[in-house]
Amino acid sequence: MITAGIDFGARNVKVVILEDGKIAARGTALTGFDLKIAAKEASEMALKAAKLKLDEITHITETGIGQGSVEFAADSVSEVGANAKAGVKLLPSARTIIDVGAEEARAVKCNESGAMEDFVVNERCAAGAGAFVEAMSRALEVELEQMGPMSLKATEAVPMNAQCTVFAESEVVSLIHAQTPKANIACAIHDAIAERVISMVRRLGITEDVLLVGGLAYDVGFVDSMKRGLGVEVHVPEFPEYVSAYGAALIARERAKE
């Protein structure tokens, strides 16, 4: 059976196609203003890679923002529900799955079968995490991809006021003026975001294993900050950005069987 999941992220739309439960292809496109166009682009990319046609897919489940905006999706699931499903599939021992993307952060606690038990979503305090790293990389004049590796070279912890984005931004500027090494600033930025995210996740209570997914999981600096902040091992799957889409595809498969 062939199923698919579409995840509408704030930045990118992601598609995962499953053939008999195995990932056959992935596709992505910028979300832009028109969700329909983005969904079409991303699905075409995935279909092409899988050498399939749209009507060969038995069931499509969507997740993320703008649910209900594409007619070829049969139904929907929340991101936390999708993450729970996919997370446990990727790492059977995972019980806490933390998802940090461009605009949102969320976390879900689940059982061994990937059913969600509790979740936190959409907290202001952790919002805009990915976008924040981007803005700060511009302020530091370093490539976004370099933020992570650079952060690992930090020699000293510079404390940062992590209470609100606006304050933090002006603080980064003062740090630059004070000639603080860029590596230390990058590390401080990651620590600050990690702290906001962790603060939110603590509401769930941290149950191991912890799996980190979403776009920011590519950033090794951020992952390191999360490990230090949580004081436990933090696992990152391959293609962390596609985890919600993967979960949606898995759920599509379950629902198709029903």
Binding site: C125, N161, Q163, S170, E171, V173, S174, S199, R202
Partner: protein
């Protein structure tokens, strides 16, 4: 000569633990300066005020909703992180809602032998508050006696009153020096002095104060006094901020803070009924804004300080989300400005962006340097 106070402040936990070991006594952590330390001292307890540590933290989110003031969250973080594990007990005197949550969560999640919520009235302007608080103190005294396993005699209470009153008198004397044209102490030193008094044995603190008072008359600071500022508003022990401020050609000469004058300004006036005497002291003290109604009695008091200390400008600071102070702020600023005192407003968080605040305060201070036109 003020180093002792800073040392106490910086090493508050070491101090309390050493005190405990040395005396075998009990240490009680408290929130809010409406707690009657006289009775605690009478029971041979060391009262220590729980304050934050001004570090970013991620442990209070499950316990306190983010719309409450950073101070109450910072305080709880200290408890959750185990920094106050040596406390034998914990108490609050009823004040604003925010800090009550710190107490509520603390009692629930951090084990202790003794906890007490003192129903300090809010209606401090009604005459019925005096007998009411007297009654509350009697109930509290009983609870303390039960906990300590021995009665608190009138003699004990007299000693409690005496030592706390003395502390108040001495600190007020030190504050007198701040009236001078070139005060021989900085606002930062004064802040360390008052806040450390909330953390250490009062007799020791009194001895240190007496030392300071001996030397102060001959002390000269090698610095410019600059603009004479008052600071007022929410809880504030942000020493880093004060240090920055006083590096900018200005001096803090007085304050209206619960980490400053509001803590020690008035004394217990002895009367036969000791508890009534203590009650009256707390009812009549310079109020926290949440108790300052129907009239705003705090305002004439502040104005008097402005006059006595020859204040030129006021920094009104407020902990983010601090409702009690937010509700007074517009009227307070209006009152000060109508009396010729320019004000400048700053919002504090657990940590403040020092660089940004510096630029802003500099701009405020520049307004005082402008030449008068005619």
């Amino acid at each position: 000569m003020f180093d002792k106070f800073k040392e106490w402040y910086d090493n508050r936990h070491d101090y309390a633990q050493a005190w405990k070991k040395r005396t075998g006594g009990k240490v009680l952590g408290y929130f809010c300066t409406y707690v009657p330390e006289e009775l605690l001292i009478a029971a041979d307890i060391l009262p220590v005020r729980i304050l934050g540590s001004h570090e970013a933290q991620d442990v209070t989110e499950p316990h306190i909703f983010g719309m409450f003031c950073p101070f109450c969250r910072d305080c709880l973080a200290q408890g959750l992180k185990g920094r106050y594990d040596y406390l034998n007990g914990i108490m609050i005197a009823q004040s604003c809602l925010h800090i009550r949550q710190t107490y509520s969560s603390w009692v629930k999640h951090i084990p202790q032998e003794f906890s007490y919520y003192l129903y300090m009235p809010h209606g401090v302007q009604t005459p019925h508050a005096y007998p009411y608080l007297r009654g509350e103190l009697a109930v509290f005294k009983e609870a303390l006696e039960k906990w300590m396993g021995r009665p608190i005699s009138n003699k004990n209470i007299d000693r409690g009153i005496e030592v706390v009153n003395k502390n108040r008198q001495l600190m007020k004397k030190v504050y007198e020096f701040r009236k001078q044209e070139n005060p021989p102490l900085t606002g930062l030193e004064a802040m360390y002095m008052v806040v450390s008094s909330q953390m250490v044995n009062k007799e020791e603190h009194n001895r240190a104060l007496e030392e300071v008072l001996k030397e102060l008359p001959n002390r000269k600071l090698n610095r410019n006094t600059g603009t004479r500022l008052m600071i007022l508003g929410s809880e504030d022990d942000d020493t880093e901020f004060v240090e920055m401020l006083e590096s900018l050609d200005s001096t803090l000469v007085v304050d209206d803070h619960c980490t400053g004058t509001r803590y020690f300004w008035n004394e217990v006036e002895p009367q036969e009924d000791r508890l009534a005497a203590i009650a009256a002291r707390y009812i009549d003290r310079p109020p926290c804004p949440s108790k300052d109604w129907p009239e705003r009695k705090r305002f004439p008091h502040i104005l008097q300080l402005v006059k006595d200390y020859n204040v030129q400008g006021a920094l009104v600071i407020q902990q983010k989300f601090c409702d009690p102070h937010e509700l007074d702020m517009p009227a307070l600023r209006k009152m000060l400005e109508e009396n010729g005192i320019p004000t400048y407003f700053l919002e504090f968080d657990v940590t403040v962006p020092i660089g940004q605040f510096k630029t802003r305060v500099e701009a405020f201070l520049e307004t005082f340097a402008l030449p008068d036109l005619f």
